[in-house]
């Protein structure tokens, strides 16, 4: 029978699973260790944790391995694992001023208060593909390792442990640029009290009109490419017009995670997470806006993912200024989740012969009508 051949049932599924396993298990290369991915594919692991909404480098690395390197699929594995776990406790709110920076850039000033700390970045390294064969590359890496061990003392991570009395200006917890702008009365005051509890996107669907915390949470977990795309569409015009924004802060660092101890009632720090944080300064030029001041958009996501945090901060302020006039908020809330979009796209592979039969029948009905008139 025609379609019967494409029906597989359990046997076909099992055969497909074995085919996936074949290269992974029978291939010549050794087992891909989680540690390798965490150290050497750091940005991929970070991205999966951010889009999966779960901070656990080892689980993220496992997911990435199981997903054969597809970050959206890996984020899906993390999130569906989360669904099986009860939520036992909430962390206490963390002040982002507690961020201990591993990297901090302030493009808005030549000499901002606090350090310009490049940290770990390839931003200023030429994008030259290493075309040497693997042996040569390995030898070079070994030489580099020997050189680093001999000649370089890394201070970043040690001092990142962050003494609390760290110098607030020059140290690892620099004052943020926004504070300076506030001192100078150069930003509008948009602090508000009507959104006190952060909107929990894992428990309630965020739909327009939504609170700012719902938009921020959605973007923090959004698929990186989707968020970059929504941002870029608002640069080039199809969806709006974001003029060029000046970044006040681009930070990558560690934030403490604190919970209230169930017995003592004291707040205790249980771990820290790495986050990327961005503040985007927007020149207000609308007729209903305060032309004498700036406004600031905010972005923060798990891991080291500057593209995402910058897009997020830009879209945060764009959404604020849009005030519901366009579909921007709906685009952000409804179209940037990687699991939603890719799942729905891929579902088109499922059989649709019942719906198609119904469409064929209507096409015939329309043609009959066309002939009769």
């Amino acid at each position: 029978m025609g379609y019967a051949a494409a029906r597989g049932g359990l046997k076909a599924i099992e055969a497909a699973e074995r085919l996936v396993a074949r290269e992974r298990v029978l291939g010549e290369s050794p087992w891909l260790e989680s540690k390798q991915m965490i150290e050497k594919l750091r940005l991929a692991v970070d991205r999966v944790m951010g889009e999966g909404g779960l901070w656990d480098e080892h689980l993220a690395a496992s997911a990435l391995r199981q997903a054969e390197g597809d970050p959206i699929e890996a984020a899906h594995l993390l999130r569906s694992y989360r669904s099986t776990l009860p939520r036992l406790a909430y962390t206490t709110p963390v002040d982002v001023d507690d961020l201990v920076v591993l990297r901090r850039i302030v493009p808005a000033f030549r000499n901002p208060p606090g350090p310009q700390l490049l940290g770990r970045t390839t931003d200023y390294t030429g994008r030259l593909l290493d075309t040497n064969d693997e042996t040569t590359q390995r030898t070079a890496a070994e030489k580099m390792a020997a050189f680093l061990e001999e000649n370089v003392t890394f201070t970043t991570d040690e001092s990142a442990d962050g003494a609390p009395d760290d110098d607030p200006v020059e140290g690892r917890r620099p004052r943020r640029l926004l504070d300076l702008l506030r001192d100078l009365d150069a930003v509008v005051d948009r602090r508000r009290v009507d959104d006190p509890e952060p909107f929990d996107i894992t428990r309630h669907p965020a739909r327009p009109p939504a609170t700012r915390s719902a938009r921020l949470a959605t973007m923090a977990r959004a698929e990186t490419g989707a968020l970059v795309n929504v941002w870029y569409r608002n640069i080039l015009g199809p969806d709006g017009y974001l003029h060029e924004i000046t970044l006040g802060e681009v930070r990558h660092g560690r934030l403490p995670v604190r919970v209230v101890h169930p017995l003592t009632g004291d707040e205790i720090s249980i771990t820290d997470v790495r986050v990327t944080e961005v503040e985007a300064i927007e020149d207000l030029n609308g007729i209903d806006e305060d032309r004498g001041r700036f406004d600031v958009g905010y972005g923060l996501c798990f891991g080291h993912n500057e593209k995402k945090a910058i897009a997020m901060a830009n879209l945060d302020i764009a959404c604020e200024r849009d005030k519901g006039r366009t579909f921007l908020e709906q685009s952000i809330l409804l179209t940037t989740d990687g699991l939603d979009a890719s799942g729905f796209l891929e579902h088109l592979k499922l059989p649709h012969y019942v719906t198609f039969r119904s469409m064929m029948e209507r096409k015939a009905a329309i043609r009959r009508h066309q002939k009769s008139v």
Binding site: M1, G2, Y3, R7, G8, G9, L10, I13, E14, E17, Q66, H76, R79, S80, Y81, R82, S83, T84, L85, P86, R87, D200, T202, R203, H204, P205, R207, P208, P209, G324, F327, Q330, L334, L339, D340, S342, G343, F344, L345, E346, H347, L350, P351, H352, Y353, V354, T355, R357, S358, M359, M360, E361, R362, A364, A365, I366, H369, Q370, S372, V373
Partner: protein, 309 residues
């Protein structure tokens, strides 16, 4: 959890039938109890307000969004140890995605499965309602890709919410009228818009128009789960479900004159076309409900055997 869930599902695969619940490390029905409770509450609201799309905190499932994650959440939230589950895709129990969903339900609960509605209590389905008459014993769980019936006439979700709240379906009626005027027939195919209980317009998932009348004053409970769009809605038993059409324009279902199933000879079931597979280049038809078709064929061949439907 000692063994990974994936491994358990894979292991269980080979011994699906005799697997007791007790040896499973995951929670009964995969989801944690808090999540199940929240989904059940959404379902209760949906049943209390027929046709209203209840927002819920849709969980990420071990199947992708768009692959039945909403239906699966409902199934796993309502399933109990005494249930028997049937899962179909396009009417077919053997469709690969139906098999995958069924093994997830069965492996995380240990409940028995069946292909026959007569033996089943929970029926999760994509795109069809089984041909057999269903009754009070059955809960039909439909996977919904797009729950919003009005999206074709309005894209702004704020406005959509207002239209439903005020039962303002004028633009839907205008679009149907324009369709009829331009094309001579109403060209809506599957997921035909229906008014439920005289109040809310729903998208009848993409079930064919053939199945729509069976929702009207049905004896069974229908639950619609849209995981990606995070909505649950319901048609309770004995509730009016009226396809939107005009007094002088009859609602038309998919019927092709002369078509009958090549396997069982039926012309009274929903048929799908198998194109160009005979020597003269013409196609033929088969039932989309594969289990009903098998039993119908057996009844015709052996009329003396017990008729279970």
């Amino acid at each position: 959890m000692n063994t990974s869930l994936l491994q358990q599902v894979l292991d269980r695969n080979t011994r699906i039938d005799e697997s007791p619940v007790a040896d499973l490390d995951v929670n009964f029905g995969l989801l944690d109890e808090y999540s199940k409770r929240e989904i059940r509450r959404a379902i209760l609201t949906a049943v209390a307000v027929p046709g209203y799309q209840v927002p819920f905190g849709s969980r990420e499932m071990p199947v992708a969004r768009g692959w039945g994650s909403g239906g699966l959440q409902i199934s796993l939230a309502v399933v109990g140890p005494d249930d028997v589950v049937k899962v179909i895709d396009q009417g077919d129990d053997e469709g690969v995605n139906a098999v995958n969903l069924r093994r997830l339900i069965v492996s995380s609960t240990g409940i028995p499965e069946s292909t026959t509605p007569e033996d089943s209590t929970l029926i999760q389905t994509r795109h069809r309602i089984p041909e057999d008459p269903l009754d009070e014993r059955h809960t039909l769980i439909l996977q919904v890709p797009v729950p919003e019936p009005l999206r074709g006439v309005e894209r702004d979700m704020r406005e959509l919410a207002r239209m439903h709240a005020e039962a303002d379906y004028a633009r839907m009626w205008v679009s149907l009228y324009e369709d009829k005027v331009r094309n001579g027939v109403i060209t809506r195919t599957t997921g035909y818009p229906c008014l439920v209980n005289g109040r809310y317009v729903i998208a009848t998932t993409p079930i064919p128009r053939w199945d729509v009348p069976r929702l009207h004053q049905s004896r069974f409970l229908s639950l619609f789960g849209a995981g990606r769009e995070k909505r649950i809605y319901a048609v309770p038993p004995h509730t009016d479900v009226e396809p939107l059409t005009f007094e002088d324009v009859p609602f038309e279902v998919e019927i092709t004159p002369g078509a009958e199933c090549r396997s069982c000879g039926s012309s009274e079931s929903f048929l799908v076309e198998v194109p160009g597979s005979t020597t003269d280049g013409g196609g033929h038809w088969v039932c989309s409900d594969s289990d009903w078709c098998r039993r119908h064929r057996e009844r015709r061949q052996h009329p003396s055997r017990g008729d279970r439907s």
